[in-house]
Amino acid sequence: MENRLIITKYSEQFYPPTPNNFTLFLRRSIFFQLIRFFILNYKIMKIVIKGHS
């Protein structure tokens, strides 16, 4: 989130949720993302196996 102030108040862009620093940290953290990588692979495989059955 670089510069929220440039967004006009009461415009559509004013309302959506924006990630806080902790969320951004998790999205970028190599350690946390490594764990997510395996979890995401597992979740995708579940969908893939279902699609091929």
Binding site: M1, E2, I30, F37, L40, I47, G51
Partner: protein, 487 residues
């Protein structure tokens, strides 16, 4: 001996060819692939070619040596007309094709078949929007590797201008009132924005999303509900949040009608005719069929029997017109078999969908403005495989019952939405939906299985997308144990 002809060597056609040669004895059966270019391209990575992170050579390869190894005949030509009943001389069905290679360019030939797979994908219908042709002034496309490589050249020009202090407006999204493939444009805008910021040029850039979607995150699949942070959230909030985080603004419910060198002219659902200035535009064109013709044995035009008005091929879908409220997953095809000629199949984008997935909307002036149904890589690959499996079963048993089925109303899809390239700084959102077409009877609350539907941004998504690039090219190249990699 059976003679199988495949038109198109994209995701659906090449997948079908690969499984057919694996499942059939090549000494007894003939497989022919006809495609205007001898290259296979991994289209999703065009996004990275369009921002200079990959070269076209990294995303494509020559199919001819592989087909030679597999015992598949390759004809470099484009299909033009279908004769499913044959004619006076040829007793089986045949297609008329025109060579596109240098040696025989323009020469026509009849190619007979016992089984025909039409996997010709979409015609990129740039002509349907005045001025949209890529290469025209400030207009780019990422739909093919050639287009994407031109997009990168144009993007570099704009980066140089920004480095010299000039402001530039980037407009990316859909270029036709009923275009689809929003996902690809969404990836491209995020990657363009990522590259601008990486160079510290964001003060010089205005990045704008323009879309025919009713709400952001519709992606032509009517959006999706996803569990997030203790709520059942949706892709609208997800897409908006992604843009707000990056200071990307948006114009929605917009049907782009025309472009000149500096302005985009569009109509919105309120019926207003508006303009948007731009210095760089990448807008996905409308998709259509290739304008194929069909003839019966006597030479009468039977194109309507084979093709829907969009030009895409009729298959086992329910094409009865009905209001949105009555749409069901039962409308969607399962075997991609033409109802009039059961030995013709159309997997991938080549088949005519029964209707869109998103609700059709019309502007106050009567212009339809909404996203058409997408058919992404994974479903296209699965359809190609199912078609091959059914033909193999038919040939081996003589039983024409289609035992393998793959409806978009039952299968899920995974899609990794790249938002920036880099092993430590990259990011992408991993999205899964199941099924692709919402099934409101089975899942009355959310339309889909909420347990398997997700959208998660982060660095891991980039690793996945990167891995998939190499994995799917490995599979497409038919390297050892390729068939163990799913579609």
């Amino acid at each position: 001996m059976s003679n199988i002809v495949i038109l198109g060597a994209g995701v659906a056609g090449h997948t079908a060819a690969a499984y057919l040669q694996k499942g059939l004895n090549k000494n007894n059966h003939k497989i022919t692939v006809i495609s205007p270019t001898p290259t296979y391209q991994w289209i999703p990575s065009n996004i990275w070619v369009g921002v200079g992170r990959m070269t076209p050579e990294q995303i494509k390869f020559d199919l001819r040596p592989l087909y030679k190894k597999w015992g598949i005949e390759f004809i470099q030509a484009k299909a033009q007309s279908f004769y499913p009943e044959g004619d006076d001389q040829i007793k089986t069905g045949f297609v008329e094709v025109e060579y596109t290679n240098e040696e025989h360019k323009g020469v026509k030939r009849k190619v007979a078949y016992d089984y025909l797979i039409n996997a010709t994908g979409p015609k990129l219908n740039f002509e349907a929007t005045e001025g949209l042709l890529p290469g025209n002034g400030n207009i780019a496309s990422v739909c093919t590797f050639g287009h994407a490589s031109h997009a990168w050249e144009l993007f570099q020009e704009k980066l140089d201008k920004m480095k010299n202090g000039e402001k530039q407006i980037f407009v990316i999204g859909t270029g036709h009132p009923t275009a689809t493939c929003q996902g690809a444009a969404f990836e491209y805008i995020l990657n363009v924005d990522f590259e601008i910021k990486k160079r510290g040029l964001e003060k010089q850039a205005e990045v704008i999303w323009i879309t025919n979607e009713y709400e952001l995150g519709d992606f032509g699949m009517g959006g999706a509900f996803i569990p997030k942070g203790g709520f059942i959230s949706n892709t609208k909030l997800f897409a908006e949040s992604y843009f707000v985080e990056r200071n990307i603004t948006w114009i929605k419910r917009a049907g782009v009608k025309k472009l000149d060198d500096h302005k985009i002219y569009y109509e919105n659902l309120d019926g207003e005719y508006l303009e948007q200035a731009y210095d760089f535009a990448m807008l996905i064109p409308g998709f259509a069929g290739h304008g194929f013709k069909g003839y019966d044995k006597a030479g009468n035009d039977i194109s309507e029997k084979l093709f829907a008005p969009s030009g895409l091929m009729r298959v086992d879908a329910d094409y009865t017109p009905k209001p949105f409220e009555q749409w069901s997953i039962k409308d969607w095809p399962e075997t991609y078999q033409n109802p009039s000629y059961p030995n013709i199949f159309a997997p991938g984008i080549a088949f005519a969908p029964p209707h869109s997935i998103s609700k059709p909307m019309t502007s106050k002036n009567g212009t339809p403005i909404f996203a058409s149904a997408p058919r992404t890589g994974m479903p296209s690959g699965i359809m190609g495989k199912v078609t091959a499996d059914n033909i193999i079963h038919w040939i081996k048993t003589g039983n024409a019952t289609m035992i393998h089925k793959a409806s978009m109303g039952r299968m899920g899809a995974a899609c990794i939405v790249s938002a920036g390239y880099g092993m430590s700084k990259g990011t992408a959102a991993t999205m899964t939906v199941s099924p692709v077409v919402p099934d409101w009877e089975k899942f009355p609350d959310w339309g889909r299985d909420i347990k398997t539907t997700m959208g998660e941004p982060g660095l891991a998504g980039h690793w996945l997308k990167w891995l998939m690039h190499y994995m799917f090219l490995y599979k497409a190249k038919g390297l050892p144990f390729w068939w163990m990699i799913p579609e």
